[in-house]
Assembly symmetry: C2
Homo-oligomer: 345 residues x 2
């Protein structure tokens, strides 16, 4: 087998949910949008349902329909993008709960699916999704008359506990909702860590479940092992890879592994990163190419059969730093060619 | 429908193949690894087979098996990673032709699948895949006795016609193969443009088929249209998106579209890029998030239903520049949530 192996530790996932649930003084849901942050929304959600999660969040109706098929009828599935005109049948058939983002969505929902459960997404300052405070004044009477099951908003800067935006959004959200008798939600992973003022009735962890910052106590969830296709010796001065960007400065042994940027191993990471053989770090040399990565294995005393790029020591945060991005993008970029193995270690 | 629509112009794909075929004074194959550069290897290869391609290349045996199912028995399918020990059954059952990269692969192939067609990949200086010149001296007698159907190598710097590496690799490849009576291949898209000295018996275009540089005459193949979920007005000084990285400097209208870095729209592109409503460019404002992008649509006179991020004017090369990468990575990152439409415009 020449494809790499992506192992997802479902036990670590459950433990991360339990740890965030223990920090939440309310119900703890789970965000499984973007196919469960790239790890298979169905597998992830079923595991978290076993751990105790009863409420899930996805980005779009299509994801909700797939998730409903995997989870069965009981859990509540919220859709962040709300009720788009073409989504009506899917929301109805898969029993999805749209989070209404605008007056247009509210009017359409009440007309197209009267009596069908909905929540309301409010904008508390991020200006991305949700009803604006001024519009909420106009719409709230209509919305409340139809008994929304949740009102929620999203924090723009929760990864930075010191950011003044957090308190500003909290105040804005409270001003819009303190007089309501409707369950409320404001916090994703970062918001949980900001403390109980931010928790209300439901928290919605996402990245923390999958092992990413800012939940630094999270257990790593993914291991990614790349098979070696061949190794070769190169002399001082020989180049490796596209564009001759690397040349050997000592007699070196180079391994070529089967994975590349087409597998979501972001091309920009190349020179900043090593692959691992046990405890030994083997630097990537030359450019990451579409299906292949070249690695300096000179310091190994044996020819490796595979090398790890993600494990308990080199995490999604390490890769994010090497790619100048965030661990969320590392996870959601993981590609379709991997053999995926789900463990309960 | 809240998912974005990725349109693949199969006619443009065929025309790109024909244009590269017209430049190749020999057989022209097609590289469809990484799921046809993210566009569906089966759909792409069937279209190119209609255009006249008879030989295809993939990265790993698993891709070859899928492609065989799509293409039927006739076309030749080469596997760049060669004959890995665990691939034997798949190579046999799907009638795939491994490109042997090492003495170990050669010995294994001859023992495990005697009489099964194979090619040989030689390393002419890139030091990534293929048999080294010194090893080829030792192995060539054995290999040639079993009648390889192709000997090939790959250029490291063909995107840069002035690079001295091109001529050095050509010389190295000729030194290893000039006395052989075996069909030869050295050129991918860049190599085709280097001229007939590089063509030998078979060229293997990849990126040029899909509309990417260095084949600047390529027709764009992909259009990507992102649905607008909602629009909102923001006042001067209001922030948009994660981390408050953007603030309005005029009263602005912001549209939020349904797609993000989980759909392969690389997070780093954000501030460098616009989405398009017809001819009007609408700048991305704030950070690209996982499932959403916020866009300044103040200059539009109407509320847009969707905005294009890829079209005939804003191509994969534009996005590559905004993300500081190459168009290959833009294509192979395109995500799984899109509604994919195949046109023959």
């Amino acid at each position: 087998m020449t494809t790499a192996t992506l192992s997802v530790d479902l036990k670590a996932l459950s433990e991360n949910w339990r740890a965030l649930n223990a920090k939440s003084d309310c119900e703890t849901a789970a965000v499984v949008k973007a196919d469960g942050y790239g790890l298979d929304a169905g597998r992830v959600a079923k595991q978290l349902a076993k751990a105790g999660a009863r409420t899930f969040f996805v980005a779009v109706a299509e994801e909700g329909a797939s998730l409903r098929a995997a989870l069965g009828p009981e859990p509540r599935i919220f859709v962040f993008s709300g009720h788009m005109h073409a989504d009506t049948a899917m929301l109805q058939h898969a029993d999805l709960t749209p989070l209404i983002n605008s007056g247009d969505q509210l009017r359409h929902h009440l007309a197209a699916l009267p009596g069908h459960a909905f929540g309301v997404q409010l904008d508390s300052g991020m200006n991305r999704l949700g009803i604006e405070p001024a519009d909420w004044q106009d719409l709230r009477q209509d919305a409340l008359a139809h008994h929304p099951v949740l009102v929620m908003s999203h924090l723009a800067c929760a990864d930075d506990p010191a950011h003044a935006m957090n308190a500003a959004q909290l105040t804005c959200f409270r001003n819009m909702t303190d007089d309501l008798a409707v369950p409320r939600s404001l916090a994703a992973t970062g918001g949980i860590l900001l403390g109980p003022d931010y928790h209300f009735d439901l928290t919605r962890p996402g990245i923390g479940l999958y092992g990413g910052a800012p939940f630094t106590d999270a257990r790593p969830v993914v291991t990614l092992s790349l098979p070696v296709i061949q190794t070769r010796d190169v002399e001082i001065g020989e180049n490796v890879g596209y564009g001759n960007t690397w040349a050997a400065t000592r007699p070196s042994r180079i391994a070529t592994v089967s994975a590349g940027y087409a597998d979501g191993l972001i091309r920009a990471m190349g020179p900043q990163l090593s692959l691992h053989a046990g405890d030994i770090a083997c630097p990537i040399v030359g450019r990451i190419s579409m299906d292949l990565i070249t690695v300096d294995v000179t310091d190994l005393t044996y020819p490796p059969e595979s090398l790890e790029i993600l494990n308990a020591e080199q995490t999604i945060e390490t890769l994010a730093k090497a790619a100048s991005t965030i661990s969320y993008e590392i996870l959601t970029s993981l590609g379709a060619r991997y053999s995926r193995v789900y463990t309960r270690s």
